[in-house]
């Protein structure tokens, strides 16, 4: 049974990734059709799609640290899928805001964008994700070479901007730890940890430490574990 699970694990992981990407949409559509999005449905849908995009982006950003911390190299294969799902929900979020909520009334939208810095940073995060999504395919990866890696570091910026977007939209003061600040603090902390783990000296230390522990517990010297390298 356990060996069977182990054999099937790659498939199960892939399935979990896709379920995580698709189920939030299924639930959103279900709640929209059954009138379960509160009496202010556009706002609720905006909040749900926005949070889903952020969580999926954090999952995407967690893949590499999972490999660094636990040697879970398989996670790295799912970075792009999770990132694309995050982009999908970010697009849906923008669509609901501009088309459904503001009815493509450009006069009102323009006023709103000018007066709301959270929309600026949200839009900036979206543009980052757009650039990454467009260039996420192998063809671009090959074509861009080293620049591709450089460009795709923008994902960290997108994560930071998305959290700032959330921190500025809630009622309260995140830095003052006052108000409705639980979520921005939670997601911000997660993002910070995920980023710190990647800092080269810290990453090297962690990888070395992990290998030592693995060797000691195994009692034998194993062949060196393939270390994850930046793609391509």
């Amino acid at each position: 049974m356990i060996t069977e699970l182990k054999r099937r694990f790659p498939l199960l992981l892939r399935l979990a990734v896709h379920l995580g990407g698709i189920l939030p949409l299924v639930f959103l559509v279900r709640d929209a059709l059954t009138d379960n999005l509160t009496v202010n449905p556009y706002q609720k849908a905006e909040q749900r799609t926005g949070e889903t995009a952020l969580v999926l982006l954090l999952f995407s950003l967690a893949c590499t640290p999972l490999n660094i911390l636990f040697g879970f190299s398989r996670a790295v294969k799912h970075r792009r899928t999770l990132g694309l799902y995050a982009f999908f929900y970010a697009s849906l979020h923008l669509f609901i805001f501009s088309v459904l909520d503001y009815g493509l009334d450009w006069e009102i939208i323009w006023d709103t964008v000018l007066e709301n810095r959270y929309i600026f940073v949200g839009l900036a995060a979206f543009l980052c994700l757009l650039a990454l999504a467009v260039t996420s395919f192998r063809w671009w990866m090959k074509r861009m070479g080293k620049n591709w890696t450089r460009l795709h570091r923008v994902v960290y910026l997108a994560g930071g901007l998305a959290i700032l977007h959330l921190a500025w939209v809630i009622k309260g003061d995140v830095l003052g730890l006052a108000g409705n600040v639980g979520k921005p603090i939670l997601y911000g902390t997660i993002l910070a940890v995920l980023l710190v783990v990647r800092i080269p000296p810290i990453r090297r230390t962690i990888v070395q430490f992990r290998r030592e522990i693995q060797h000691r517990t195994a009692g034998t010297i194993k062949p060196p574990i393939r270390e994850y390298r930046e793609l391509p």
Binding site: V39, Y42, D101, T112, N116, L177
Partner: protein, 320 residues
């Protein structure tokens, strides 16, 4: 059927399925309100003594209630299922199912401070002494949504007259209930509990500042601030404190809940003003709950004629 959350302990088997609910609405329209009462009791909706009555839906379509601008009142269901009440939860649609535990009777309101006759009123006495008048007012939330709500209440000035404010009283401070074992939200360390609000004394004396005890002619539901709340319709909704336990007359401008939480974002006045943005959000438009398109927000929430004179000579961008 999560949406229809009633206060009383109706077994889920007795909650009307949606299809039947809609046919009932059509039927109610035909039968009129008189018939509706009979239908509702036949459906098994019980009226409880301790908790406010919970008639599921008395929408404007049946009552024809409109505000003075001609906009229809939001339904009872809208008003009782979308509440900012952080003492319970920050989830607006989640408040209705959490308020059961709150004990609103007996309830006392202390009126004290710079007054000749400090008094602690039983809410029952208040209800008898100050009969509720119907007040259909717009409520504009600082979050950018609004409703038209048929409150029942009486001018705050009447209660203040009872206790005879001293000349030195310049402000009125309101304190809401904060009961940890009944209100789980007050455990949050990020807020300065209890909820407090304040008005300048002349604002408090304005006829639009009311103490509300009813909604749609029924006792005020708990999620809307039972048993007694403040309603100040020309200010953002958070100024209208719920479940009042204390009203104090004071000399200096009191600290308020949101002003303490984020001073540069929530001013003491917090008058509805489309031209003065919240530092992070535009206040130019709002979504009227139930409408497809956004509306332009009105100065003083449309009550300029009644309240603008309170602020002559004041820079409202400074005193936001």
């Amino acid at each position: 059927m999560k949406k229809y959350t009633f206060i009383s302990d109706i077994p889920s088997s007795e909650i009307t399925p949606e299809a039947m609910y809609h046919s009932r609405r059509r039927f109610i329209k035909l039968a009129g309100l008189a018939g509706a009462a009979a239908v509702l009791s036949a459906c098994g909706v019980r009226q409880e003594e301790a908790t406010p009555a919970t008639v599921p839906d008395v929408s404007s379509m049946e009552t024809g209630l409109v505000d003075e601008l001609g906009d229809p009142a939001n339904s009872f269901e809208d008003i009782t299922n979308y509440n900012n009440y952080y003492e319970f939860t920050m989830v607006k649609e989640g408040v209705a199912s959490m308020v059961d535990k709150l004990v609103t009777s007996p309830w006392q309101v202390e009126v004290s401070g710079l007054v000749q006759k400090p008094t602690t009123f039983d809410v029952e006495d208040i209800l008898k002494r100050f009969p509720a008048e119907e007040r259909v007012y717009r409520l504009r939330c600082v979050e950018g949504w609004s409703m038209v709500i048929p409150w029942g209440g009486f001018p705050l000035s009447k209660l203040l007259a009872e206790v005879e404010p001293m000349g030195s009283a310049k402000y009125v401070k309101f304190t809401s209930a904060s009961i940890p074992d009944q209100m789980p939200g007050v455990a949050s360390p990020f807020f300065p509990w209890p909820y407090t609000e304040g008005l300048r004394i002349d604002e408090a004396m304005n006829d639009l500042a009311v103490l509300v005890t009813e909604l749609y002619g029924k006792p005020l539901p708990k999620q809307d601030g039972a048993p007694i709340r403040l309603v100040v319709p020309w200010k953002y909704g958070f100024k209208s404190a719920k479940a009042l336990v204390k009203i104090e007359l004071v000399e200096n401008q009191p600290d308020t809940f949101w002003n303490t939480s984020a001073p540069n974002e929530y001013g003491f006045y917090s008058n509805v003003n489309p031209d003065v943005s919240h530092p992070r959000w535009s206040q130019a438009t709002e979504r009227r709950i139930g409408e497809a398109k956004r509306r332009r927000t009105l100065m003083f929430n449309g009550y300029t004629d009644q309240v603008a004179s309170l602020y002559t000579g004041m820079d409202l961008a400074q005193n936001y």
